[in-house]
Symmetry: C2
Subunit: 197 residues, 2 copies
């Protein structure tokens, strides 16, 4: 409605998952309804931009040289390294409490169609880490899609010479799901991943 | 994961329609993926906070004393005034192009349960506007719920003495909807709002 309002709406629309209407709603909220949130959000952005950076070892967010997971010696002792696409995947796995080793965040997956080659991913330090940190097991927790598959194969080739066990997380029906509502690709994965009793 | 990251996530979560996971995704996007968006978003917030304010006549967003709708003489000539709950409702009506008069934004609706009485709404100037601007028709475009209903009745009582035609927008099946999937309250409204051929 006004140039400054539209500029704010346009910026909010750039956030992931935010469309035109949500951005309008957020702009009204920030300008008319809760102006104090606008101030505090601006401050949080500045403060986080100054402090938050990538862990030099794994690529997770941190405020020092290394993140709290890499600093945790008990994590190192497991000899397990879980490779994920994004920091958000790492956070989801941490919330599940199902993995207690270290992580390696690629910040993407191979996608030749979108011009994402290996040089765009955080792969440079991976081979070195396996040796330096005496990694004995690598778990590839990458997406169940073509790019995820390609990235897995690239990593397997990359670390071929190392004495390390490599696995990929299981695919199939998610918790609580029924066969009836599962899509065909999931059902195909689930059949291929069947386990004998 | 880090204090500054969590503080940013918490602030983003305060935005309307943003949950814990979306806020996490946005924080990662702003800090790791597109840091330039963080800078530009901060600037847009500051700039909009400085420039955008409420129109002194109708409550819409503007950068001067009055908004572009109130400044438009052709709008005033219609003698029509549309009362809406929020600026976003005004924007939706403007996009539809179905109304060419002026607006009055309440910035809320009566809700005794939530402690919202008439004094919390932008009602003070309404009676005065009707006289000053020679309003002949008031259209109440308020929500189809109990609070919307109560707000309509309050406004009708408020302007009872004025020689002005008051109506409320129609309720019923939205465009493209079928009876099968409509909820009971909508069907009740639609039956009550039936029109003879």
């Amino acid at each position: 409605m006004t140039p400054a309002f539209e500029a704010l709406q346009k910026e909010l629309k750039r956030l992931p998952g935010v469309g035109f209407r949500s951005a309008e709603r957020m702009a009204i909220f920030l300008l008319l309804e809760r102006p104090e949130v606008a101030v505090e959000l601006s401050q949080a952005i500045s403060s986080a931009r100054e402090r938050v950076r990538r862990c030099e070892l794994c690529g997770n967010v941190c405020e020092e040289k290394y993140c709290s997971i890499c600093e945790d010696e008990r994590r190192a002792e497991t000899g397990s390294l879980c490779v994920v696409e994004h920091v958000s995947d790492l956070m989801a796995l941490e919330k599940s409490g199902a993995f207690r080793g270290r992580y390696h965040v690629l910040h993407g997956k191979l996608s030749p169609i979108n011009g994402v080659g290996p040089e765009r991913l955080n792969l440079a330090g991976l081979k070195e880490r396996i040796e330096k940190e005496s990694i004995t097991e690598i778990i590839l927790a990458l997406p169940n899609d073509v790019e995820g598959e390609a990235t897995c194969h690239y990593i397997i080739d990359l670390i071929a010479s190392d004495e390390v066990e490599v696995s990929r997380i299981g695919f199939g029906l998610p918790s609580g799901a029924s066969v009836l509502y599962a899509d065909s690709v999931t059902l195909k994965s689930a059949l291929e991943a069947r386990k004998r009793f």
